[in-house]
Subunit: 513 residues, 2 copies
């Protein structure tokens, strides 16, 4: 852990930038499209001449920001994407009820046509009317309130209350185009200079490192403990906080991703209480990434929101500043392309919330379909509704299949020589550790790649399976990992396991001492 | 003009902040919803105690950023919104073909049902199939390529070619959630510190001042000449550029809004050529806000894109860096709630475009419905398509009505004592100038309001008509204006004119010398 001291946001970025450069072995990767940039007249000409704007004259924060999940490796593969949490790209079907409501809200003119009854469920028609009635003038094509349509926020707040058993206020909800803009908004609000730090887990979802870099702050890493199933130890938080303070960093906030990405752990309630207590004691804003709240696969664990945990400890508005992020891209619905999400902002004063509202208003509002979908996932069909049975069957089918896939892949990884893989208790990923032979590490060095990136690229070339090297997420120096989603359709998993196993064996044979 | 010298971004912000504070006469305005923040348990408690995060500890750039279009004044009115370019909130109906396609793409399961033929036009069904075939796995719920779905970018590029008569490259297109995120992306790229300046028109659309403030740059104002119909004089650009350079500001880019917002002028082609030449000579990126390209109301003016103009001058990729912003929120379609838009980025090297792509990828992708809609507005039904006639009738009905409304309101303003109003040649706004009596200015001072804000608030209280005070957009010091949209439905315009005329007369009577 010694190389990852405080202030090591730079290290993290450096290593990830290195990765970025190492992996660049195709000049056309920047545009993933089938017609690469190099083929286009503008780009081919532009590569040979000086342009007005150059790398040396753009904002260095932009250059520093890196984003591992969508890197070069992605552009090379058309085959088995196990890299991104993008379920519908791998064949997962959308929840019928949600799509019925969206279609009806998009084209309300058909709502009272007789043919519509034959095409749509009765409760989707009813829900569409309810939603339209919440929109001034039923205008789904109008900008909404910059926090989102009030009626939809009411629905979401009610859904949070049902989930948590504690009150939720629609005025605390800010609907956003997915969770990412919400994270950016909070980083923009909290980061004043590079002297402001944000505690982030390592490994972490690279949105956080990217956003902190873009906003010019310092990433203060804390390590999840792989040996205890990616445990989050408060002692580690304290240690990193103190070290960073001794270096003059003002730590503003703690990011917790629960269930974990890329690590898949689900925090125990006692652990969450200790984290809340830590934030309260140390005066940190708790930024709770809870986008995988529906994705829990093991009976011994349950998702508890940090809001519920803090309220159950008796802590209210005045005790802790807490932001919870939710997205329609995850869960059993996996509606990534709809870009819906929200943040629930509690424990901030009216004056600061006014500033958050102002920043939201500069972008006018999030997309209305995403807003509607966010209300639907927080208020799905209920017992007695016409769609309830089919909805439940779709949801349970997806979630139980994901649980089986997680277990199958975990077992497969654990059978590989030199690989150990913690359980995916939740979320959509496994993050196995791989002990690479010394010769493989040397080969990677010779190829100017991080060892895990080298492994992933060899795997890709040999099998068409796309994984994300652990170096993009951060890892204890000297250890190597990769992230694998559990999202490929179930019938494809055996083939993936076979290909991976065969590749791994031959890779190890090639490099074994 | 003397007070608006270079470096006066601060002045602009100060005046707009003053405005922000002056107009604050309701403590609950921050949340527009029907249940004001002050009623909620969290907010009422939060106003009386110290919170962890305070105004003094958040990012000062957030505090400096102001956004006039959605300010306090908006929250007070439930009546006649003439303030925001939000057509469907005022009763404009969406274009049927566009919504048919969106609904079918949202719920493709109905595409081959027989009832669907009775509900949807044949060409909307065909277009939906075409679009779905362009999406890998037909998955409208999946994240797309971070620039947007390649097939949709092909369609948009083809639409640009038809519009301009010059080639367009789908790899130059970045689809975004409305135009605002695209503007932010470019500001983030170009602004390194407060020493970097962006030339912006005054009056300007406050997205620009807000975005420049958020990214820590300096707004370098240039004045549009009201006397010549809000003319854009290159001599003024030169003067402001030189003054700012003498103060150590590196001017990076020129923002041009054409057709103008809030000013409604449409630039003549010769004028555009001079602007292109200026940018080329001075090494400025030309940021062309062309979101009102479909909104031209006078036969003597036509919209020409800056790309067409620069290409017609023989300038290519290597000669000028040009970004054109387009949005589905404007035009005859007015689909604000869909948050679709794109920027066409030309004249940047591959390395810099790679950085733009990277920033786009941090937010994964823009919403797919907005992407689809952006492709539809750039490729609407054609002669011979089943929907063509109804589509054309809807489009022409909206545009001709907007032209009539613009003329009616312009005439009405020009009949008011002390008011002069330039023609709205395009866009969706009038920006009349009002010479206020000395006594009214004194009354405004006593009320701690800018005189135009005072006028607008009196108008609102008396009539329910919401206008935006000119001080939010910037204006020559000592002059006063307000922005009025031309969007209220045509049958409501006579009542608006009557109320406005009556109010104005009594206001002037009250304060006349």
């Amino acid at each position: 852990m010694r190389r990852f001291v405080i202030g090591s946001a730079r290290n993290l970025i450096e290593s990830s930038r290195q990765k970025y450069q190492f992996e660049r072995f195709s000049s056309s990767y920047r545009f993933l499209s089938s017609s690469p940039a190099a083929d286009s007249p503008s780009s081919s000409s532009s590569s040979t001449m000086a342009h007005l704007v150059s790398l040396s004259t753009i904002n260095p924060k932009v250059i520093e920001c890196e984003y591992a999940v969508r890197g070069e490796i992605v552009t090379l593969a058309q085959i088995l994407y196990c890299n991104i949490g993008n379920p519908q790209s791998l064949g997962q079907q959308p929840i019928t009820f949600f799509r019925e409501v969206l279609a009806l809200c998009d084209h309300p003119a058909i709502l009272d046509k007789s043919e519509t009854q034959g095409l749509f469920s009765a409760d989707s028609i009813e829900r569409a009317w309810q939603i339209l009635d919440q929109i001034p003038g039923r205008a789904t094509g109008a900008y909404s309130h910059s926090q989102g349509i009030k009626g939809l926020r009411d629905t979401i707040a009610a859904g949070i209350e049902v989930r948590d058993g504690f009150p939720a206020d629609p005025n605390d909800i800010f609907l956003t185009d997915g969770a990412s803009p919400a994270v950016h908004m909070m980083m923009q609000l909290l980061i004043r200079s590079e002297k402001d730090g944000i505690l982030c887990p390592i490994p972490q979802y690279p949105l956080y490192s990217a956003s902190i870099a873009l906003h010019g702050g310092t990433l203060v890493p804390y390590y999840l403990d792989e040996a205890t199933g990616w445990g989050l130890e408060v002692s580690e938080l304290k240690k990193q906080l103190e070290t960073s303070r001794s270096k003059g960093i003002t730590v503003r906030a703690l990011v917790v991703i629960n269930p974990g990405n890329p690590t898949g752990q689900v925090l125990a309630e006692e652990n969450q209480k200790a984290i809340v207590e830590f934030c309260k004691q140390e005066g940190l804003v708790l930024l709770a990434d809870e986008v995988y709240q529906e994705n829990v696969y093991v009976p011994e664990k349950k998702f508890h929101s940090f809001k519920k945990v803090s309220r159950s400890m008796g802590y209210g508005e005045k005790d802790i500043a807490l932001v919870s992020f939710q997205s329609v891209s995850k869960g059993y619905y996996g509606e990534c392309g709809k870009r819906g999400g929200y943040m629930e902002v509690t424990g901030f004063g009216v004056d600061v919330r006014e500033q958050i509202y102002k920043v939201a208003s500069v972008n006018l509002c999030s997309n209305i379909s995403g807003q509607i979908l966010a209300s639907l996932v927080m208020s799905p069909p209920k017992v007695g509704d016409e769609s309830y049975e089919s909805y439940s069957a779709e949801r349970d089918g997806i979630l139980s299949s994901l649980a089986r896939r997680a277990k199958t892949l975990e077992d497969a990884f654990n059978k590989l020589e030199g690989v150990t893989c913690n359980k995916a208790e939740g979320a959509m990923y496994l993050f196995p550790r791989i002990d690479l032979p010394e010769k493989a590490i040397k080969a990677a060095e010779a190829a100017k790649k991080a060892p895990d990136a080298y492994y992933c690229q060899r795997l890709l070339a040999a099998t068409g399976i796309v994984l994300v090297p652990g170096s993009g997420f951060g890892q204890v120096p000297g250890t190597w990992h990769f992230r694998c989603t559990i999202l490929p359709q179930e019938e494809k998993i055996p083939a993936i396991v076979t290909r991976l196993t065969d590749f791994h064996k031959s890779f190890m044979d090639e490099f074994r001492g």
